[in-house]
């Protein structure tokens, strides 16, 4: 769906941001709307997606795992996209848009480091200055990606307040933007933030679902992990409105929903304002945002994109969660049965399939394998001792 003129999906979304940013958001909305209708812009993006990103990414039939689980499981291989995750679809699009708007500098936040790497990559490609904000805790657990960003010429700025993870990194990037909006574009990494970001990022990620539709006969279930919600909405968009396809978004259950230490804003949160939009989030009674927890840095976020909030209330998508432990087990399972080490984020989606294999018996399942697991090897090795 297209958000209304106030950037709302139903009651969710909007623009809860300091006035200083509003003109830039207006400008961005107009620039994106125009570019998206411009054949030349689309042709340039498509060419880069094909020759640089490596699209279309394949859909792979996970034969051994299908047999083991008693389902028919297909993997949309975003892990094979350049830089190893779906994040590059969005950053190449936004970097092209930055150049079109005549801004020489971009900033980004990153949790797992995948979006930071993808932004640094697109910036190198187009000759843009790039600064990435990253929580100090995430810099520790995703050290490999920190070095990758630096190799690509980006400056990585540690954010050491609060939980020192993704939420703080987004806040710090927004603060930078408040001071630099004249010369800088903020390449946000998911379908979050003030309008037009949730809409624009979804449009850049739609390519995932559009390709799936041509590559795969209609599945019974489409499943994807939900952090901010960009890989999932990219896949779901192509199937929304088809009553025969069940859509499942899998959130980070952390130590378990009951412990309160998780990242499941849709399953266990309530509506409020975070980072510029009205959406589901984890908060206390006083409206203070709570710390999320997930073993996966990319899902360790107390909010979620506003379109997901709308889809949740409308009952269009089922939002489920799995724990850290289940996700780690799924990472091991896919590695051993298919020779694919997934990132911890999509391992959540797989863990849901594993957990529900009985109920899903015989069904065709399309799962977004949103990224590869190299960045998580150290984290997982640490836990296995």
């Amino acid at each position: 769906m297209t958000p209304d003129e106030r950037g709302r999906f139903g009651e969710y979304g909007g623009r809860f941001a300091p006035e200083t940013l509003l003109s830039a958001l207006d400008e961005l909305e107009a620039a994106f709307a125009e570019a998206w209708e411009d054949d030349a812009f689309r042709a340039e993006l498509d060419a880069l997606l094909a020759t640089y990103v490596g699209r279309p990414t394949p859909v792979y039939h996970a034969t051994r795992l299908s047999e083991q689980l008693g389902v028919d499981l297909w993997l949309k291989r975003e892990d094979l996209a350049h830089t190893g995750a779906h994040k590059i679809n969005n950053t190449v699009g936004q970097a092209l848009l930055t150049r079109r708007m005549g801004k020489p500098r971009v900033i980004a936040e990153t949790g797992a480091g995948q979006h930071g790497v993808a932004t640094a990559t697109a910036s190198a490609l187009l000759g843009l200055d790039c600064v990435v904000y990253m929580g100090a805790k995430d810099m520790e657990r995703q050290a490999l990606n920190v070095y990758r960003m630096e190799l690509l010429g980006a400056e990585v700025v540690p954010v050491d307040v609060g939980a020192a993870t993704l939420k703080e990194a987004v806040s710090e990037a927004l603060r930078d933007w408040v001071a630099s909006v004249d010369s800088t574009h903020y390449i946000i990494g998911s379908v979050v933030g003030p309008h037009p970001f949730p809409w624009m990022v979804r449009e850049f990620q739609r390519v995932i679902g559009e390709e799936m539709r041509t590559q795969l006969k209609r599945p019974d279930v489409v499943v994807a992990c939900v952090g901010g919600g960009s890989n999932s909405i990219g896949a779901f968009s192509a199937y929304i409105g088809d009553p025969d396809v069940r859509l499942v978004g899998v959130e980070a259950g952390g130590y378990g929903i009951a412990t309160g230490k998780h990242g499941a804003s849709l399953s266990a949160g309530s509506p409020g304002v975070l980072h510029g939009s009205y959406t589901y989030l984890l908060q206390d009674e006083g409206g203070q945002i709570l710390e999320a927890h997930s073993v996966s840095a990319g899902l360790d976020y107390p909010g979620v994109g506003p379109e997901h909030a709308f889809l949740r209330d409308a009952g269009v998508v089922d939002y489920e969660s799995v724990t850290d432990e289940q996700a780690i087990a799924a990472l091991h399972l896919l590695s051993r049965t298919e020779g694919i080490i997934p990132a911890l984020e999509p391992a959540h989606a797989l863990a849901w399939v594993v957990d529900n294999a009985d109920a899903l018996r015989g069904k065709t399942i399309a799962m977004v394998l949103s990224g590869r697991g190299d960045k998580d090897v150290q984290e997982v090795a640490g836990r296995d001792g």
């Binding site: 941001a17 006035e19 200083t20 307040v161 409020g272 409206g287 203070q288």
Partner: protein, 271 residues
């Protein structure tokens, strides 16, 4: 029955204008250096014309490191919305000066807009500033404010286009908060040139009272800003003094002296 909120805001500006100066509105986070000593901080700022009381929010997008850490400290020490509202009441009652409440959208939405406005009106506050609320999202807040005659501010920034400025003025806020510089709150060595440009643009289209804030920290800057605006907000420079003080007594002393100095400079600029 006392005067209404918007009238009291206007008379505060008018009284200062009569003395040929702008009103001085210090910002202070509620709950620092600790919740018990917070009231004393406001009482120490005797030279202020009114106060901006910040109800702390842990993810303040418009605030730089000083005010952000003050908010986190207050929350860690147990400051809640209710305690903040009680403080508003005490500041208004014991100083008799106009009190404007400043916070972020989410705490107010969770509390309930009407319930929040009722509470600050009952506590004697005259106005309200929500840092992450542009005119697009402000309608229910403006309406709530009007219902209880609490004067709601809207922001204008150096980046605000003429078209937006028109929309903002048309929404009829009680006063305008001009963001003096491109950036979040924090101390600066000079007043940005953007401040007076912005003030001129605002003056050209409306008679609404205009306060300038963000990046105003020294007496000299306050004088400069006061020359083009009805009110001047000084925040980080004062909050920092409280955070750096060894105890509440020392904080109150430093604060009183700093505000005296600001006020004296602004009075001295009488022409």
């Amino acid at each position: 029955m006392a005067d209404s909120g918007t009238e009291r805001i206007r008379s505060m500006f008018a009284a200062a204008a009569e003395q040929g100066r702008a009103a001085l509105l210090p910002f202070m986070t509620a709950g620092i250096p600790d919740p018990e000593s917070s009231l004393a901080m406001f009482q120490a700022m005797t030279a202020a014309d009114g106060f901006e009381v910040g109800i702390p929010y842990a993810d303040p997008l418009m605030d730089g490191p000083v005010i952000a850490s003050a908010g986190r400290r207050a929350i860690d020490l147990g400051m809640t919305i209710d305690a903040g509202l009680e403080l508003v009441h005490q500041v208004a009652a014991t100083t008799g000066k106009p009190v404007i409440v400043m916070t972020y959208a989410n705490p107010v939405l969770q509390y309930g807009i009407d319930r929040f406005v009722d509470a600050i009106a009952a506590g004697g506050a005259v106005g309200m500033i929500i840092a992450d609320l542009p005119v697009e999202e402000a309608a229910p807040f403006l309406e709530g404010g009007r219902r209880r005659d609490v004067g709601m501010a809207l922001f204008v920034a150096p980046t605000t286009t003429d078209e937006r400025l028109e929309r903002i003025v048309a929404a009829q806020p009680a006063f305008l908060y001009g963001v003096a510089r491109l950036g979040v709150t924090g101390e600066q060595s000079e007043l940005a040139a953007t401040a007076s440009e912005l003030a001129q643009r605002v003056r050209a289209v409306t008679d609404l009272p205009l306060v300038l804030g963000v990046g105003i920290s020294t007496p000299y800057q306050a004088v400069e800003a006061g020359a083009v605006a009805d009110g001047v907000i000084v925040g980080s420079a004062l909050v920092r003094r409280v955070l750096e003080a060894e105890d509440a007594e020392q904080a109150a002393e430093a604060l009183g002296a700093a505000v005296d100095e600001l006020a004296a400079a602004m009075r001295g600029s009488e022409s």
